[in-house]
């Protein structure tokens, strides 16, 4: 009997290892031989640990499983979910980047190839540099790390730079609250990220890559390190990638708990062994990046999407989406939701469809009050804006951002003044200290919100002034975007700022 139990960190945090032990005991008791595969997660976190059993009619699921209920995997029972691919959450998705995640054994090259892995790399190897650059550009892919910069343009800049060495740096710092897509793909389909980095390397002329992976993800670190060894053995990495004569190899580097090191220039300083302070731009990292050499810095999802773009063709990818937001985006639905997890879809879903539909409203059963999109630097959206379609320009037009596509839902017990205070507090803790608007502004922000909380309405204009100063004068988006959560809380939920005042009067 072939059984799949995810090794994804969320599944493990919900008891997957205990389920594995119980399954093994139960199988032994029944005299059944168990073939156990530790797969990634399908992304239905509310069903984790999700146990799957291979049957002639496909894989059937059982979840959320716990150690005491494993007999149901053999006998059926209330936790039985039927064919996993037929679950509404699975059927409604367009899984391109995450096509293999949760399906295959993450470290099996055979599984990987059997499910389309390496097809993109093979096609890319058959093209010249210009062809590869044109393919990435035509796909419309924009950076999934937050800034949404067109990947093709970035690669072209690095490809055109003349230098003795160039680098590919994968940004796996994923510090935004509400996001876990990078973690899931690194744990569930690490070879797709490696393949994407190889394609980037052979396109821009870089022979060395680094993944800068946050220390908060020990499982992903272990998996990526093992995957690099597997990829080397399989010839995906090394002096001659798949016998092409082109060299590319890579290393996994571990961050040290600084949110700002997700900012690309801070990341590069950190990778060089320095304090992770932000560098002034220009020079662009594309021209003077790691060790002063031309460097592609791309997010995990940007890079892990490259293989499927080459596999299916840029036109197929670009056919999905809205406006200048092409292709798919892995939505990460988190916080106070009945159904949380990762849902990959073409750009364009409405926020209401995501929150009320997919997520099924709140976990607490109370009304949704606010939804923060795009991490700690993203705006809080009220229900009145639930029709905004998921896209870069659409969110920017509402004073927000999609960031890394984390969606954090709050019920009506949330205190938006407290959330605004937290935004400043977080910025103060994580500021790299290089620029004054961020370093000092965040501290002043906490003080100003506290004044409002004490009933001092005259502090409200000070708060908006401070936000203007931070927006205009900060060196990077940490100080520059902290005003988004603050001002959106103030604009859309004025009652939370006013009742403190009334209470004091």
């Amino acid at each position: 009997m072939k059984v799949f139990v995810p090794l994804d960190a969320a599944a493990r945090a919900l008891g997957a290892d205990e389920v594995v032990a119980a399954l093994q005991t139960e199988a032994a008791r029944r005299g059944i031989e168990l073939t156990l595969v530790r797969n990634g997660s399908r992304g239905m976190v509310w069903l984790e640990p999700l146990v799957e059993v291979e049957t002639p009619d496909g894989r059937v699921g059982f979840g959320p499983m716990d150690a005491a209920s494993v007999a149901q995997v053999f006998d059926g029972g209330p936790l039985s979910l039927g064919p996993v691919e037929d679950l509404p959450w699975m059927k409604a998705q367009t899984r391109l980047t995450f096509a293999r995640c949760g399906v295959i054994d993450p470290l099996s090259v055979d599984d990987y190839r059997a499910h389309g892995g390496c097809a993109g790399l093979m096609r890319a190897l058959g093209m010249d540099v210009e062809g590869r650059l044109a393919e990435v550009t035509a796909s419309g892919l924009r950076g999934r790390g937050g800034a949404g910069f067109p990947t093709g343009i970035k690669w072209r800049t690095v490809a055109g730079a003349v230098a003795d060495r160039k680098y590919i740096v994968c940004n796996a710092d994923e510090g935004d609250s509400g996001t876990f897509a990078d973690r899931m793909i690194m744990e569930g389909d690490p070879l797709s990220l490696i393949e994407g980095m190889v394609i980037a390397g052979i396109t821009v002329g870089a022979t060395k890559g680094f993944v800068y992976l946050r220390s908060e993800y020990p499982d992903a670190i272990a998996m990526m390190n093992r995957a690099v060894l597997v990829a080397r053995t399989a010839g995906m990495l090394g002096p001659s990638v798949i016998g092409s004569g082109l060299a590319f190899d890579m290393e996994i580097r571990v961050g040290a708990g600084a949110y700002v090191c997700g900012e690309e220039t801070s990341l590069l300083n950190s990778l060089e062994g320095k304090r992770g302070v932000v560098r002034a731009k220009p020079p662009l990292p594309a021209l003077e990046g790691f060790m002063g050499k031309p460097t592609v810095v791309n997010n995990v999802i940007s890079l892990a999407t490259i293989p499927v773009i080459f596999e299916r063709g840029a036109a197929a990818y670009a056919a999905l989406g809205i406006g200048r937001s092409r292709g798919t985006i892995p939505l990460q639905i988190a916080g106070n939701v009945a159904r949380g997890g990762l849902f990959e879809a073409a750009f364009g879903m409405s926020l209401g469809g995501i929150v009320d539909g997919l997520a099924g409203g709140t976990a607490t059963g109370r009304p949704v009050k606010a939804v923060q999109v795009g991490g700690p630097l993203g705006a809080y959206f009220p229900r009145a804006l639930f029709d905004v379609p998921f896209g870069y320009e659409d969110y920017a037009g509402q004073g927000g951002l999609i960031g890394h596509a984390g969606i954090v839902v709050f019920d009506d017990t949330a205190d938006m003044l407290a959330q605004a205070r937290f935004a400043f507090e977080f910025c103060a803790v994580e500021s790299c200290g290089k620029c004054t608007p961020c370093r000092i502004g965040a501290v002043r922000g906490v003080e100003t919100v506290d004044r409002i909380a004490r009933g001092d309405a005259s502090a409200i204009p000070l708060l908006t002034d401070l936000c203007d100063t931070m927006k205009a004068g900060s060196l990077c988006a940490l100080g520059g975007f902290t005003p988004y959560p603050v001002l959106s809380a103030l604009t859309h939920f004025p009652g939370d700022f006013a009742c403190a005042r009334e209470a004091a009067e």
């Binding site: 960190a9 961050g255 040290a256 304090r275 988190a334």
Partner: protein, 156 residues
């Protein structure tokens, strides 16, 4: 306890194992911390030499990163997520309860060296919040009882 000489010689071995690594300082610091549980003063000269920086510059790097400790942590490390998705699921309440039960504020270590409490901003478990990590083990949908049980397990 290792004496300073022993620490320095072990740190020197770690440094040598990183020869030829590009931008080796963070990997070396992680390796030193994995070995000693913190970055001891006695290891600094070896690290500064290898990285080609002054002691003051090295201190600047070590103090910049939340992960690196200049003093040892408790036997059990408790990390509670304080970020937004966990807040939305009552993380602040769980944190207050754990703080009260441990008698510790953020960044504190109990007097007997048994437990250290640290905040963390997101463990990537935002769809099963609130999240905690006790001696490396992740806990989803954490409550005070489960965190305290894991602490007790870690001390045993």
């Amino acid at each position: 306890m290792l004496d300073d000489q022993a620490i320095l010689s072990r740190a020197t071995e770690i440094v040598q194992a990183h020869q030829g690594v590009e931008g080796a300082l963070l990997p070396m610091l992680h390796a030193v911390q994995a070995e000693f549980g913190h970055v001891p003063q006695a290891a600094m000269p070896a690290l500064a030499d290898a990285a080609g920086v002054t002691r003051a510059e090295l201190h600047g790097v070590v103090s910049f990163y939340h992960d690196f400790r200049e003093v040892p942590a408790g036997q059990v490390m408790v990390r509670l997520c304080r970020a937004e998705a966990c807040q939305a699921m009552g993380g602040d309440r769980v944190a207050a309860q754990v703080q009260a039960r441990l008698g510790l504020d953020w960044h504190e270590t109990s007097a007997d060296g048994a437990v250290t409490l640290e905040p963390v901003f997101c463990l990537g478990l935002c769809a099963c919040a609130p999240a905690a990590q006790v001696n490396g083990r992740l806990i989803g949908r954490a409550d005070a009882a489960r965190v305290m049980a894991a602490v007790a397990g870690g001390q045993a």
